[in-house]
Amino acid sequence: MDVKLKLLRFNPETDTEAHFEEYTVEAEPMDRLLDVLHKVKWYQDGTLAMRRSCAHAICGSDAMVINGENALACKVLVKDLAQPITVEPIRGLPVIKDFVVDMEPFFAGYKAVKPWLITDPHEHEPARERIQSPEERAVFDDTTKCILCAACTTSCPIFWSDEGYVGPAAIVNAHRFIFDSRDSGARERLEILSQADGAFKCRTAFNCTAACPRGIKVTKAIQEVKRAALFGTV
């Protein structure tokens, strides 16, 4: 079948502003949108720039705005998309070229919440593994799924208008440690997230939850972090 595409193109070396260009490619209903974009790149216009790697929604490279919604190009199939399929770069981050955006502000927000295990300096390093019950492990299971694709953060209207906001993905990664029974850094992270650019910026638009390709209940995680900050319920 013929598939019609409208791609928002921007080449910093030749364009002053982004503009839509239209393409038609031959594809199958079960093809991933990424396959279709590859057909454009490989057979029509080699200048088309995008990030991609694993092509099955685990590396998190190819988040894009697809028919108006954030998704991974390798996780949406042609059969599920109305035509012409419009593709734009994710929003709220500077565009480098076509669908490639500058990820540095996103990773800066991520790193700001100290997303690594913080252990009690007085605790002796255990000889074997730390003990953690399946129930304790289950509390933060959902937020361990994050692949840092930025689909959530760049779907957030607060993030669009306020570049200082750490954004949903950062809070998800803070949640992953705050609720880990082995971690003792909850207080410092909650302090960071209680500041002006932290979790309380969230207005529960739920865009992030809808956008997450991993099915993480992002808004719920943010609410749990807010409650932990307010009531100390870790």
Binding site: Y43, S53, H56, C59, S61, E129, P134
Partner: protein, 578 residues
Amino acid sequence: MAIYHRYDAVIVGAGGAGLRAALEAGQRCKTAVVSKLYPTRSHTGAAQGGMCAALANVEEDSWEWHAFDTVKGGDFLPDQDAVDVMCKEAIEAVLDLERMGLPFNRTPEGRIDQRRFGGHTRNHGEAPVKRACYAADRTGHMILQTLYQQCNKQGVEFYDEFFVLDLLMIDGACAGIVAIEIASGELHVFHAKSTLFATGGFGKMFKITSNAHTLTGDGPGVVYRKGLPLEDMEFFQFHPTGLYGLGILLSEAARGEGGILRNADGERFMERYAPTIKDLAPRDMVSRAEHQEIKEGRGAGPKKDYILLDLTHLDPEVIEAKLPDITEFARTYLNVEPFTEGVPIVPTAHYAMGGIPTNVSAEVLRNAQNDVIPGFYAAGECACVSVHGANRLGTNSLLDIVVFGKRGGIHMAEYANSTKHLEISEDAHKPTEEWIASLMEGESDVRIADVRSSLQEEMMDNASVVRTDESLNSVLASIEQLNKTYSQAKVRDKGKVFNTELIEHIELGFLLDMAEALVVSAKARTESRGGHYRDDYQSRDDTQWMKHSFITKTPDGGTELTYKPVTLGRYEPVERKY
């Protein structure tokens, strides 16, 4: 023009091996990690099922049993001293990751849970053993995330989206690398006392593969072009459960949790091929069995060209809890509901057992006599220690990257701290600059996408699960032709910023080189062993072939093969039955 940087240690690649090395080197000397992708995009993240270590948390186990399984699984080609190192250090490697915060699944007592995996047995093959430590079916994802978290905690310096193009060699020693910054198109020289390659595999030479688009053998490609050897290139693993038509991996853990492979008649055909451990036989055997079933007309589907992975008898709650990702893959990409119907699968190109030859300290070897290249290290899939021999066991790749990544990181730092920088010239980047210019200048009608898809089809048809002299000759002739066509191609995108057409162009060149090395090595090996199966030489030949191949590109563009004997140990080669 190029930007020059000076570090003690430079690590190329930021998957599990590169990041694990960075944690060690970064503590000891000034270290940079140079990676084609953002670290968390690395393909370690796609590994699903687990990482084996004889923790004996769930049932009796010992690292020696693990070593035996690894040697037997590798069809007696692994070097047994290296296997001992890996299986012994596996236990501490898993505990290390747990202490870094990796969220393993837990036993009711709160210890790291373990499950069954292909080829891993108790007491030298008696029965499957629960040895794989896991985090649902995203173990690799959790390893990658955990190591990246620790690198950030430690303040490791990253150069993300830098693509390695050349290795700087001074009088037989390594002095660093040349890389291109993808965002700007600028060349950068990383002048280093020690350099470690951890660039991953090259499965993209095959049409059906579990590998990412970016797995194009860049590291081994750079090495091969320097006239340095690659080891055991003929051994490429085909994983038995790739999603039909796509190759996306469905973890062996699906069978570890009780999944069964069935042919069109609904028969559990693995009972005929491996009566003791059936569906949990090593991957090479299962992939060959699938190939045989399809060839003999018992494949499922309208074209009788796939096998069914049956999970329908398993408790949906167990599947959802332990295998959530792979069931979603089946739903998303094939529209199949694994709770109620079999999932169509085929063998998928998965893992290169061969690669840049190293010793157990991750030092790169310059020849089959075990002489090392000062200052040059490799770890992970791009390397060949050899711990996997002719066929890697499931989970041992994650183990390999953390064990030898750590060893490489320590050794490269110790070496860096004991030596000075080698002198390099101010135009060390010149050959690379001229090469890039030659690709960018001029026009051509050649489409590299056509060259790439021809290569992938030829390799799949002629050099995959089953090979013959005839099929290998045919693909070798094709590669020669494709190389000619490729050499005429030009990059059409003349821009500097994020020129991914240029990147893909160079990647294809590496793939062509890897394909040549694989096919020439495979043609020479007139026996069947592990992942290398010759229909015209169906048996293993221990008299002739208990040796590793070393392939080198000669200055005239030809290839040369030399060999190194396998290091034996406790286990004498015996027939491989399961």
